[in-house]
């Protein structure tokens, strides 16, 4: 497994660029161990914002987190796009590249994440595509457990599906702790049992985010709110299972002042610190 920067980080969004660059570099460096960028939002762009992104990737360790690869899909893999990704990862010195265990295209792109049917056929399909991407990129990638609101054509449990894909694709896992929580509410399972059943040696890094509670049994993974207490508790539990892993805060909408986000990132570090003292 590749060695990644430790600690806690923040996902870079266009709407956060200015405030990140306006924050004093040393302060930012002391608050963030790494950042993450979505290549699909930046490949083929130029201009001021693109230069600002470069300023950040030159100064900080970066991960990349894709949206459009459609690893679980059945449209042909976009080889031109994978080549663009490869250049992007090299240009920005990306430590780890992750994508969703999902599909976003079926006879064309829909630009959002659909739930892969949890079936044997889909395990084979996703694993073959992940392997192909890993071959072309020349590196192992991490796949993210996604939030889902419905499980169409389900034959396997989610945990069996995810584990089978990781095993068959020989890839890493980006464990999204908020997604586990949201899914445990939406599909009525025990989030701790789910996490305990994941292969901890394959967990490359973690995501954490806020969600929206639509009903008692229905949460929507919006990335538009602060992280809630049960998810913080689940993060602490996760560290007990996987060991301390680099953990990234995702915020896509309703941006608060940057200091509020940095304080939330600090909370990740605090939990990591508690786990460190617990183990030692």
């Amino acid at each position: 497994m590749l060695v990644l920067p430790e600690g806690a980080g923040l996902g870079v969004r266009r709407g956060l660029l200015k405030s990140l660059l306006n924050t004093e570099s040393a302060h930012l460096g002391s608050m963030l161990d790494f950042m993450e960028v979505t290549p699909d939002n930046w490949i083929g762009t130029s201009g001021a914002a693109t230069r600002q992104l470069h300023q950040l990737t030159e100064r900080f360790p970066f991960f990349a987190h894709g949206l459009s690869l459609s690893l679980g899909g059945t449209d042909p893999l976009d080889v031109e796009f994978i080549a663009q990704l490869k250049s992007f990862l090299s240009l920005h010195n990306i430590h780890c590249y992750s994508e969703h265990l999902s599909y976003c295209s079926a006879d064309g792109h829909l630009y959002d994440l659909m739930p892969i049917p949890f079936t044997e056929e889909a395990v084979k399909n996703s694993a073959a595509r992940i392997r192909q991407v890993q071959d072309v990129l020349g590196r192992r990638i991490a796949i993210e457990n996604v939030s889902y609101y419905a499980a169409p054509f389900q034959e396997l449990s989610e945990i069996d599906f995810v584990n089978a894909v990781i095993k068959e694709a020989d890839c890493d896992l980006l464990l999204d702790v908020n997604n586990v929580y949201v899914n445990s509410i939406n599909h009525g399972y025990d989030p701790e049992k789910f996490i305990a059943a994941l292969p901890c040696d394959r967990v490359a890094y973690l995501h954490i985010a806020g969600h929206y509670v639509e009903a008692e049994d229905l949460c929507v993974d919006t990335h538009a709110a602060e992280v809630c207490d049960p998810v913080w508790e689940l993060l602490a539990f996760t560290y007990q299972h996987t060991g301390i892993k680099p953990t990234l805060l995702e915020r896509d909408f309703n941006f608060p002042p940057i200091e509020v986000l940095l304080a939330e990132v600090q909370k990740i570090r605090d939990i990591q610190h508690v786990e460190k003292s617990r183990v030692s």
Partner: protein, 234 residues
């Protein structure tokens, strides 16, 4: 519409995706709680609608809520998007409005306006050296369209625009003429390596007898464009 039980992954995924693209004509996969399918419909449509509203501010501003929703719904239902890159989704809508959409209820300039708005984004991201100038011609004066000007008929004469990216990365446009439009096209023509070649070709096309006066006009025009930062020296 009746739905056969899909037997393979491809069919299962198309069933799910087609419902999200076009819920009116394609039923949701059987056995999924409506409340949950609604979340998907809401997320997917909201996402694409937001992306397009941000990238087509003029088109969005001249439509009411209902018209805009109908437009995005028809685009999402019928157009097959190829780009995986989010900044390029705008090009998919422009393509659809210019070449695929067929609606009598639309403003007659809608396709051209979409192309104009998309070109501004495409020029911003163009990897050509700066300054960069794209000569464009439209049936409608697309640069003047807005809530206060919604022409139902194209004027008698075409609209020639130079859209350009200055050295400071600002995207600007300038009204131009058929002659300047053609001049800039010819300057880009690799089979005409010298300014002399370009002037000779222009003289033929414009049936201009006095090549010397044409050359002076061309040089004046280029000087003006150079000073305005529309073109560079090369």
């Amino acid at each position: 519409m009746s739905v056969e039980k899909p037997c393979n992954l491809r069919e299962q995924q198309l069933l799910f995706a087609n419902h999200l693209r076009n819920p009116r004509d394609f039923a949701a996969p059987a056995g999924i709680e409506e409340r949950r399918m609604r979340i998907y419909r809401h997320l997917f449509f909201g996402n694409i609608s937001n992306v397009l509203a941000t990238t087509f501010p003029v088109i969005r501003s001249i439509m009411n809520e209902e018209q805009w929703e109908a437009l995005v719904r028809d685009f999402y239902a019928t157009h097959r998007c190829e780009t995986p890159l989010f900044p390029y989704i705008a090009g998919e809508l422009a393509e659809y409005l210019l070449h695929e959409r067929d609606s009598d209820a639309d403003y007659p300039f809608l396709g051209e306006l979409a192309w104009y708005e998309w070109s501004e984004i495409a020029l911003r991201h163009s990897d050509e050296t700066m300054p960069t100038c794209w000569p464009m011609v439209f049936r409608f004066p697309v640069h003047r369209i807005g809530v206060g000007y919604l022409p139902q008929q194209a004027p008698a004469t075409a609209t020639y625009l130079l859209m350009y990216r200055r050295c400071d990365e600002q995207i600007k446009f300038m009204e131009s003429s058929a002659a300047t439009f053609r001049l800039l096209q010819l300057l880009d023509d690799k089979t005409l390596p010298t300014l002399q070649d370009v002037c000779e070709q222009l003289a033929v096309e414009m049936q201009h007898q006095d090549i010397l006066s044409l050359q002076t006009m061309v040089q004046d025009t280029l000087q003006q464009l150079l000073q305005a930062g529309v073109i560079n020296n090369s």
